[in-house]
Each structure stands twice: as C-alpha cells, then as structure tokens.
C-alpha cells in the first residue's frame, strides 16, 4: 500500500504514488533550475508538464487511476534530461536508453560492500543498509545460520550472486541511503552470470598467456623484466609485504574466529546460566545489559583485527580476490567447527539451542 498524492500538471489533476511524486518533483525542480535563465522558462515548464501529463494519461485507464513509481520513472526516462536551448541543443541518446532522471535524493539500495568484508560483503552490505555495525549483522547471521540448519547459507549465496557490488562513490552512498525491485534482481543475476563467464574466459586466457610467457622466458632471459607487458595493472606491492600478508591473514582469521565463538559462548552462557567461566555480573545488572557489554567488548576487540585484515588485503594487491574468499571460508569453517564442538561437549550450550529450536517450533 502506498500513499497517493494529487498533482496538478499544467491545469490537470493526476493521482500519483508518493515515490512517483518524489521522482516527478526532482525532475521538475531540476528542469526549473536548468531553465532559470531561459526567458520562456514558464512556458517550457508548462509544455513539459503537459507532456508528462499526456504520457501519464496513456498509462491510466479503466481499473487504473494512480501512477506508480515505475510508471513515473519510465515517463521521465522518455522525457529525457532537460537541455537548455543556449548551449546544448543535443540529440538525446538513442530512444529507449535507460535515461531515467538523475536521482538527486539518492535512494537507499542494497549493495555488497567490499570495504572490510568477510566473504562477499553481504553482511557488510546489510549492515550499511540498516545502518548498524557489520559485526552485529554477522553475529545475527551466524546464529540464524545454525537455527535454520544451514539453509541461510543458500540465501547468502543467492544474495552474493544477485546483489550488485557498490563500486562507485555514489553506489557506496546509496548502500547507506529503496529497496531494489524484482526486475532489477533478475537483471543483476544475468549481469553477474555474464561477468562470471567473462572472468572464466579471462582466466583461461591468462593461463594460456602464462604458458606462452614461460616459453619465451626460457628462450630469452631479458623477458624477465617485462617492462611493458602489463601497462594497465596497478603497481604490485613489495614481495615482502605480500608474504607477510599471506602469513598474517590466516592468523587473523583464526584469532577472529576464536573471538567470535568466545563472544557467542559468553552471550549464550550469560542467557542460560547467568554468567560465564565462573564470572557472574553483579545482581542488579540485567541479562540484556550484560549481553550488550559482551557485544561491545567483541566490537572493540574486532575493530583492530579488521584494520589489520584490511591492511593485509591492501598489501596483497589487485589479485587478492581468491585470497579474500578463502580467508572468509576459513573464518566461517572455524566458527562452525567451534560451534559444533560447543554444542556437543558443553551441556549448557546444547541445551540452550534445543530450547531455542523448541520455542521456534
């Protein structure tokens, strides 16, 4: 259900949904701004409003008397950006181009956020979307993963495939600032699939390329320098830094996995027995406050680990993709392993989850 607003477009009333209204408002405001110096500003605005209204009327009919956001975006896309008669009397890009009006208000969208991600940035993206700490989302994710008996992992994979990665500054801003619709989801999935095929092709090319290079290296010693063979790649960090990163990363993963599991233990133990490892909070501290304290301590300890991890990723240079992936897998595997051990050998923990399962059913 959406709220509907009535707008007056050049003397005729139209009913539009709130989001459609916002898009229309943004388009008309931008048009007014661009045409501010045009002596016929008023008349052109009236013409534009009339044209938008006419297009709107064609969308409406029996059984439909409100313009939705999609309708409005399409209409404004057909209208095209306003160009002032003064300098740019340009032909627009070919008809049908996705020239929706620039969204000045920056709608909020779900993106994978690759800055400080664990596996693919899904939790990180969700955290950005809801404006909460990624650690919290990960904890909730891991807990739900077990409660769902692993089904959530499939959801994770689907999201990883379907949700776009925030690449530009604008997208990263949008990650924090409308949910995406079904059509976009399908488009993204297609796009990612194409990317995947592409990268497979590149990988094969690279392999072939490497073989050829090995051959030439053997026959020609100077080839080792390869001054112009990779003109477009980012400079590779020093060898030492990369080795260090290679050693540090798994270590960090182990530490952070232990930390995660320990925090979850502490939380579970606090909720079930009222304390953990023989330590009990003062009686006047409610359990939820103790739980919050545990989360706070976790976040505090995890922050420097994350910083080191990110620095190590940086050091790995542009080809860090697989490393980051396996590092994430290692982390998840350690968490799952620790969980399994806990659930089987620590009676309190196993009990707690059996209760939780029971309550959920």
């Amino acid at each position: 259900m959406n709220k509907v607003t009535t707008v007056n477009l050049n003397g005729r009333a139209y009913q539009v949904e709130e989001l459609a209204y916002e898009a229309l408002r943004a388009y008309l405001d931008e048009a007014t701004r661009l045409l501010a110096d045009d002596p016929d500003c008023k008349e052109i605005m009236a013409d534009l409003e009339q044209a938008i209204g006419d297009k709107g009327s064609r969308c409406l009919g029996s059984g439909k008397n409100v313009l939705g956001e999609t309708d409005m975006k399409r209409i404004l896309g057909e209208m095209g950006p306003v160009e002032t008669g003064a300098e740019a009397t340009g032909a627009a890009p070919a008809a049908g181009a996705d020239s929706a009006p620039r969204e000045t208000s920056g709608p909020k969208r779900l993106y994978l956020v690759k800055e400080g991600e664990m596996i693919a940035g899904v939790c990180n993206g969700l955290a950005a979307y809801f404006g909460v700490d990624p650690t919290l989302v990960r904890l909730v994710f891991v807990v739900l993963l077990f409660l769902s008996g692993g089904l959530l992992a499939i959801a994770y994979l689907v999201l990883m495939f379907v949700v776009p990665t925030a690449k530009t500054a604008e997208e990263r801003a949008a990650a924090r600032g409308l949910p995406f619709n079904a059509q976009e989801l399908v488009e993204q999935a297609k796009h990612h699939y194409a990317d995947l095929k592409d990268s497979h092709q590149r990988w094969r090319d690279r392999r072939r390329h490497r073989k050829e290079r090995a051959f030439w290296r053997a026959s020609e010693k100077r080839a080792r320098e390869e001054p112009q063979s990779r003109p477009f790649e980012q400079p590779q960090p020093g060898y030492g830094a990369r080795v260090a990163a290679g050693i540090v990363l798994p270590l960090i993963s182990v530490i952070s996995a232990v930390l995660t599991v320990a925090s979850i233990f502490a939380g579970v133990s606090l909720l079930t027995t009222g304390g953990f490892l023989g330590w009990y909070p003062p009686l006047d501290v409610p359990p939820w406050a103790a739980l919050l304290a545990v989360i706070a301590v976790y976040a505090l300890l995890a922050a420097p680990l994350r910083a080191v991890r990110n620095a190590s990723y940086e050091a790995l240079g542009p080809r860090r993709g697989w490393f980051v992936f396996w590092d994430g897998v290692l982390w998840l595997a350690l968490v799952i392993l620790a969980w399994w051990i806990a659930a089987h050998y620590l009676p309190g923990v196993g009990e707690f989850f059996r209760h939780l399962f029971h309550d959920l059913r």
Partner: protein, 107 residues
C-alpha cells in the same frame, strides 16, 4: 547508428536544421516531431525539444497555434515563419555545399 561522443556535436548542430525541415513539410506538434526522428540517429526527447523549439520561436523561425485535438487537451502546432523558410533554404544550400566539398576531397 553511432553514439560516438565525437559525432555528438554534429548531431547537435544538425538537429535545428532537421526541425526546420520537418516543420516545413506540415503543421506538426511535438509528438509528431519525436515520431519522425525516432529510430534515426537524431532521436530526441521532450526534455531537449521543448527548450529548443522555444528558442527557435524567440528567433522568429517558428511559430505555433493552439488546436483542439479530438481526444485530449489542445495541442501546440508548430509551423515555419517566413524567416524560418529563408533560414531553411540557406541551410539546404549550405548542406549541399558541404557535401560537395566532402565528395571532392574523397577523390
């Protein structure tokens, strides 16, 4: 159809010429013009057309009159003024001249 950025100024410069041509043939309203240009390399949109037509009207190249349409609100029908016709004739000549030069250089 080339969307090459390099050709953009050419398309931009020629759009006004084409509008004169289209309007010279008949009294037209904006949707007609868009329809005529659609699918050509000069495909354009309302956002571009209205400001341009308004500028041409200020330069006294085109004029418009309101006409009732059977189905909706009255529409603005554009036609060329005397000055617009002169300009179109000049542009036609100039265009032929340019083409001749280009062909000559190709030989």
């Amino acid at each position: 159809m080339s969307s090459d950025v390099k050709f953009l100024p050419i398309r931009k410069g020629l759009l006004e010429f084409l509008l004169l041509k289209i309007i010279s043939a008949d009294k037209v309203y904006v949707a007609d013009i868009l329809g005529r240009l659609e699918g050509t390399e000069f495909a354009t949109q309302e956002g571009t057309l209205y400001p341009l037509l308004s500028k041409m009207r200020r330069e006294d190249l085109v004029d418009y009159e309101w006409q009732e349409s059977g189905t909706g609100p009255p529409r603005k029908y554009y036609r060329l003024t005397a000055k617009g016709r002169t300009q179109l004739a000049e542009l036609n000549d100039y265009w032929r001249e340019i083409n001749r030069t280009i062909q000559k250089l190709e030989r």
